[in-house]
Amino acid sequence: MTTARWIIIAAILAVGLAIAWTARPQPLSAAERVDRISAELRCPVCQGLSVQDSPSETARSMRALVAQRVAEGRTDDEIRAEFVRSYGDWILLSPPLLSFSGLVWLAPLAAIVLGAALAWSRARAPAPAPIVAGPTDEELRRLRELVASEPE
């Protein structure tokens, strides 16, 4: 293999390593857990902002409640369920994976796979025979007339 190929492979491996390193499972601190849960809850009085982003007082009291529950040792699901009890599924900013609405997670993947498959089949399609035909006699005659009449 050429040097260039080695370098490219090495570079790809390096990037892969870096990604694996940052993606390694790390225990979340309490504050990070609060942030993560708050980012998935919708602020009831804002226009679609998450509880983590919203500076409103309702959001702040929700964050305080989340922080307290995290300190009490509740799981993420339990904390989310508490808010769903009060506000309905509407309070979750994304539908859970294992629900009927979870299909919205599938749709983008399906679109890409389908589109790529279509594109691939189009890319591989054999070219239809190109239409090649010389000029007819009539056309040649007119061509000559046109050329002859062109100004020098």
Partner: protein, 668 residues
């Protein structure tokens, strides 16, 4: 004559002219009648002038506080400063449509005067289509649903109006964001009109592409810059600390931009290899349809959003228009599909056209995802009554991987030649960029980025940058070898000779800047919220923030409470004044953030709450957001790159070449 009379009269006259223009242009195209075309041209100018008069009349009514008009009574007050009165033209639905109609009328004039001279028949049909659209919007602003010049009965005229929505008079930038977006939106109708004309006439050439290239690029650039302007607005004015919330109206703007980006690339495949014709027309139709859908979502009141204020009767009309566009566009496309079928195939998978094709797939998938996410709550509720939300967590998780894939394609696409490349070529070309990618990943890890997406973003950003630099170096070297130019003038000549390509590279660099800014700001923002008494301080990421006090500012149109903060640390020394602004017509106060922008990070301060009675305490929320300024800078670079890409190719000097045609033709 009052403002209302002038405006209403001008609009109705313009509607009559638009209908006349529609008939004249259609007749001119059908019968190739030059006089009809001439009258259509005149009518186009007339319609534009009349709509301009109507817009100016509304601006006049607003600045003169003429409350006999419903629109003025609802969106203006005596205390509203003149500047904000003037820009209240687009403060609400009826006035916005007035602005939209003005831009559309301008596009009609452009096609009527310039377009018809270069491609007479095609442009005339396109003109007829545009007149039809203009007539629709003029009909919209003359019906009761959205007539901005609706009068109040004489005994109901208030002494003072409501004033503009609080969010809209908070910042002078309101003068820029909507007009930019509207220009982007409306200009997509020009390629659309030409595409429809090409379909009607059964055109199989690609002339309409070149003709509309400027309009397509302009609309794409203006939409893009308008979206970045909106993000800046969200960041600096709305004051929640972020720049993008996947709000339905933000989504409405980005969807046509995504398909327009796909189009800008796939159109090159059509020009170079005469492929993807059907696909390109479909993209043009989709882009335009999405702008109407976006307007519908924003203005009909069916979605909960920052921008939606009331439900209005204009909803069904816009929906009908949207469906009509789809039916006409898709119908014509299906009718002509066989004539437009590709002669040839894309071929090699490692070729520029294949990369563009796959990039298109990704862009369309991204668009469909945004559409699904925005509409799904409506669908779910309509079908099952269940109310649910789809917000940032969904969009981020889906769009980030798509965006990273697109970033990767952005690096390899321009490097691959048309028709395919050999392995050896690829290895040679991608060695340096691969090393750059590894370096980028290293930088990410060392600077403490968390999350695989951020590391991959840095790697790919370095990758793309390296490929762009490589391209420029190659181009300069080639020019120096060919023409012996010194490097700087060779560099400039690259843009002059091939503005589209190298301007496009500049755009790519701007995108890279923006993407790096987004990844970094999302991954490493540090936040702290604390309640302080005057004199108290808090420390965040090396900044030392002291609250010196709270004070009230009273203005005729609003009352503000401001927290005075002194910032030190990290080499900074300044004062910020985040506040809460109370307008009389809204219940809750609006936040005005205090931002210290820098090239490394922004210090973003919010006054979350304060002691109303004694000013004894204030809750200050501080965010240190790294690299967010690069997002605005990236947007500017994208706009600049688009300008470079729009540079006309150099004029070719005609050279006399003696050709013995008679001989060639004679010998057959």
């Amino acid at each position: 004559m009052s403002w209302g009379d002038i405006g209403a009269g001008a609009l109705r006259a313009a509607l009559a002219l638009a209908l006349w223009g529609l008939g004249a242009a259609a007749y001119a195209a059908w019968k190739r009648d030059a006089r009809a075309l001439a009258s259509a041209r005149l009518v186009a100018i007339g319609a534009f002038v009349l709509v301009l008069i109507a817009d100016l009349a509304m601006v006049g009514a607003l600045t003169a506080h003429d409350f006999s008009l419903v629109y003025v009574a609802e969106n203006n007050a005596l205390e509203t400063p003149t500047f904000y009165s003037a820009i209240s033209l687009w403060a609400a639905l009826a006035g916005s449509i007035l602005l939209w109609t003005l831009i559309l009328a301008g596009a009609v004039v452009w096609v009527a005067l310039r377009g018809t001279r270069s491609l007479p028949r095609l442009a005339t049909v396109a003109l007829a289509v545009l007149f039809a659209m203009l007539a629709f919007f003029l009909a919209l602003v003359t019906t009761a649903a959205a007539d901005p010049f609706t009068r109040l009965a004489a005994d109901q005229i208030p002494a003072d109006g409501n004033g503009p929505n609080a969010l809209l008079q908070n910042h002078p930038f309101m003068a820029l964001h909507p007009p930019l977006l509207y220009l982007g939106y409306v200009l997509t109708s020009v390629p659309f009109a030409y595409a429809i004309a090409a379909l009607i006439l059964g055109e199989t050439t690609d002339r309409w592409l070149t003709e509309t290239r400027k309009a397509a690029l302009a609309s794409w650039a203006l939409l893009g810059v308008g979206i970045v302007a909106g993000a800046w607005w969200s960041y600096a004015v709305l004051g929640w600390g972020g720049y993008w919330a996947w709000d339905p109206v933000e989504n409405a703007a980005i969807m046509p931009w995504l398909t327009a980006t796909a189009y800008l690339h796939s159109v090159m495949v059509e020009e170079k290899r005469r492929l993807l014709r059907t696909w390109n027309i479909a993209l043009v139709i989709s882009t335009f349809a999405l702008t109407i859908l976006g307007t519908f979502l924003t203005r009909s009141g069916v979605v909960n959003s920052v921008h939606s204020f009331t439900q209005s009767a204009i909803g069904p009309l816009l929906l009908g228009y949207f469906v009509a566009i789809l039916v006409v566009g898709v119908g014509l496309l299906l009718y002509r599909m066989d004539d437009l079928a590709d002669r040839g195939s894309v071929g090699a998978p490692l070729s520029r056209e294949a990369i563009f094709l796959f990039q298109n797939v990704l862009f369309v998938a991204a668009t469909l995802t945004v559409l699904l996410g925005t509409l799904y709550p409506l669908i779910a509720e309509a079908l099952s009554g269940a109310q649910l939300s789809i917000g940032a967590p969904y969009f981020d998780r889906v769009e980030v991987p798509i965006g990273l894939a697109l970033l990767f394609l952005m690096g390899i696409g321009p490097q691959l030649p048309w028709h395919g490349a050999s392995r050896a070529t690829l290895e040679r070309q991608f060695t340096a960029p691969a090393i750059a990618a590894a370096a980028g990943a290293a930088v990410a890890v060392v600077s403490g980025m968390t999350g695989w997406a951020a590391v991959l973003t840095y790697a790919l950003a370095a990758f793309v940058t390296a490929t762009v630099v490589q391209e420029f170096v190659r181009g300069v070297r080639a020019r120096r070898a060919l023409h012996g130019e010194p490097a700087p003038s060779a560099f400039v000549a690259l843009f002059r000779r091939n503005g589209r390509r190298y301007g496009g590279y500049v755009v790519h660099l701007g995108i890279v800047m923006a993407v790096v800014a987004i990844a970094t700001s999302q991954a490493r923002t540090i936040e702290l919220e604390q309640t302080l008494a005057p004199g108290g301080a808090m420390d965040v990421a090396g900044y030392h923030i002291t609250l010196t006090g709270l004070r009230d500012i009273a203005e005729p149109q609003r009352a503000t409470t401001v927290a005075d903060l002194v910032i030190t640390g990290n080499g900074a020394s300044e004062q910020l004044h985040p506040g809460l602004v109370q307008y009389p017509n809204t219940e809750s106060a609006i936040g005005a953030p205090g931002i210290a922008a820098g090239s490394r990070d922004d210090l973003y301060t919010i006054l979350a709450a304060y002691d109303g009675t004694g000013h004894a305490w204030a809750t200050i929320r501080v965010r240190v957001i790294p690299l967010v300024s690069w997002l605005w800078a990236g947007g500017a670079v994208v706009g600049f790159g688009a300008l470079l890409a729009a540079l006309p190719p150099p004029k070719r000097r005609p050279i006399a070449v003696p050709v013995r045609v008679a001989d060639a033709v004679g010998a057959e």
